[in-house]
Amino acid sequence: MSEKVHYTRFHPRWYRPRVPVFWWLRRRSYLLFVLRELSSVWVAWSVVFLLLLVNAVAQGPERYGRFLAWSAAPGMVLLNVVALCFVLLHAVTWLFTLSPHAMAVRLRGRRLPPAVIGVGNLVAWMLASALVALLVLG
């Protein structure tokens, strides 16, 4: 209908439900979404943690030693375990559910199905992790 709707005698008010503040608690999938979004906070924390590490290494062996001790404190370990869980959630959702749908990768004129892209991402992820381990552990 091209006209604007008027409330008249014959046109009682429609019911307009409000979205509750905690809408994301109402469905499992919404909760997962919010957790996924919050993983970014832990990504940021990881950056901070890494920068502290870099700083410690730059300041010499002694500072590096103190950093290692500090990071082994139970509170820190707990914090980083939580952070790791979120970062893994981020990696899994980002590499295996989100980006495969967001990308249109073509091979010989055909669009690759999302599952194939997901497998590709898995391989890339394993290579990147191996590289990191190699560099760090020698």
């Binding site: 970014s40 950056v47 920068l51 590499l95 992790s129 760090v136 552990l137």
Partner: protein, 117 residues
């Protein structure tokens, strides 16, 4: 309709940060945040780390990771507050804090990774 010319760039930073952090951070955090502290593996000695970090490529990559991951956080966190808590009326303040934070963090990272060596 309001077009926000910076939005595409913020999104590109967000996406690049998402990919890079997904690829690199789990391994790094696992090693330095969990495996070494818990003694599952022994941490590399200082000399090795200085050698690795001494290479400019490592530092540039790390800087890229830090900057992009911070913008990733800024963008995502901004929307999380925006939608998750319905703080739409605080939109400007939130954007300022998030992207401002990312900028500041990037500056620190730049200093630590480029000038301090």
């Amino acid at each position: 309709m309001a077009r926000r010319p910076v939005e595409p760039f913020l999104w590109l930073l967000f996406s690049a940060g998402g990919v890079l952090s997904a690829l690199l951070i789990p391994a790094l955090l696992f090693l330095f945040g969990v495996a070494f502290p818990l003694g599952w593996m022994s941490p590399p000695d200082h000399g090795r780390l200085t050698a690795v970090l001494g290479h400019p490529v490592t530092r540039v990559v790390l800087l890229g990771l830090c900057v992009l991951a911070l913008f990733h956080w800024a963008h995502r966190f901004r929307y999380a507050l925006h939608h998750g808590l319905q703080l739409r009326h605080l939109e400007r303040a939130i954007s300022l804090a998030c992207y401002g934070g990312a900028l500041a963090g990037s500056a620190v990272a730049g200093y630590l990774l480029l000038s301090a060596w």
